[in-house]
């Protein structure tokens, strides 16, 4: 047991542990946890504890990582309720491609696509996953928010007051075009900070007009019904 390589192998364990603790993204941290499990199994086997090494490799690396990956995936999510007629397949796919290639020009996009681009940038910053859930009309959207099916809702201001036919009669740029309602205090703080303060930094050239916030944010208190999660 007095071989010199044992010290080098044991020194790998705190190295992997420090790597794990400095991770910010939870998914990256899960992968590093797997690396830590592999190194730990090696250390245990070298020190002679074969049963501990086997348990670490099977339970610590395989089972724990899988369970944590499912837990992180289902909890770090931001469900956005939108109207169905706003949510067309073509431009969402287009928007996803543009998002991947970092070629977002703020002026060229439809306002709703612009809004979703902002939201997905915010979600990416906080390691959240954005999920769009379409609803038929504003009433069912509001009910879904109250029943805790979605976390935030995005409604055009034209839908709040009147029907779509009068949309052209509204004076442009008077108010934000969309109205965002959230029921989670932390999301409200994040959205308030991110949406109203500045345009995202990945947009290369700022538009000549001063950037107005595309949506207003409102926080609503939802009563806890008890039977829902």
């Amino acid at each position: 047991m007095e071989d010199s390589y044992i010290y080098a192998i044991v020194a790998l364990l705190p190295l992997a542990a420090v790597m794990l603790t400095v991770q910010v993204n939870p998914y990256n941290a899960l992968v590093i946890r797997g690396i830590l499990g592999g190194v730990a199994a090696l250390v245990y086997a070298v020190l002679g504890a074969a049963d501990v090494a086997l348990t670490e490799a099977l339970v610590g690396t395989m089972l724990a990582i899988t369970l944590y990956a499912v837990a992180v995936r289902s909890s770090l999510i931001m469900r956005v309720g939108v109207l169905k007629d706003e949510c067309k397949d073509e431009w969402i796919n287009e928007h996803r491609d543009e998002c991947k290639h970092e070629l977002i020009q703020a002026d060229d996009l439809h306002p709703f696509a612009q809004l979703i681009t902002h939201l997905s940038m915010i979600a990416k910053k906080y390691h959240l996953r954005l999920e769009l859930i379409p609803y038929g009309d504003p009433q069912s959207l509001q009910q879904a928010l109250m029943e805790k099916e979605v976390h935030i809702t995005c409604i055009p201001n034209s839908c709040v007051e009147r029907s779509h036919e009068n949309e052209q009669l509204r004076p442009p740029d008077a108010t934000p075009e969309y109205h965002t309602v959230t029921r989670i205090r932390r999301l409200y703080d994040i959205l308030q900070t991110e949406l109203t303060s500045l345009t995202p930094s990945s947009i290369p050239s700022p538009p000549p007009s001063p950037p107005s916030p595309i949506t207003g944010v409102t926080y609503v208190m939802v009563q806890d019904l008890g039977e829902k999660h």
């Binding site: 192998i9 790597m19 086997a45 090494a53 089972l63 990956a69």
Partner: protein, 89 residues
């Protein structure tokens, strides 16, 4: 024989550095796979050095079963990128 193990430890540092520096999740997964395989082979080498059949058996089991966790994690991460389309319309 100790020099072989020292060289393998040095080779193990390469994917560890890669997993630390590269922010891409798939590069991290590649480094994870590399480290998992390297550590299992090192367990086998140590078992030969110490003449311990029990450690060798554990090394074989870790080498053959250990990548299953990697595959499960890769499936979950892969579905993350497709997820926004799942419940749309």
């Amino acid at each position: 024989m100790d020099m072989i193990l020292i060289a393998m430890i040095l080779a193990l540092l390469i994917p560890i550095y890669e997993a630390w520096q590269n922010e891409d999740i798939w590069q991290k997964m590649l480094a994870f796979a590399s480290i998992a395989t390297k550590t299992s082979v090192m367990i086998l080498v140590v078992s030969v050095l110490q003449g311990d059949r029990m450690i060798g058996t554990v090394g074989v089991i870790i080498l053959s079963v250990g990548n299953a966790g990697l595959m499960l994690l890769a499936h979950v991460i892969k579905r993350l990128n497709d997820a926004p389309n799942e419940r749309q319309l």
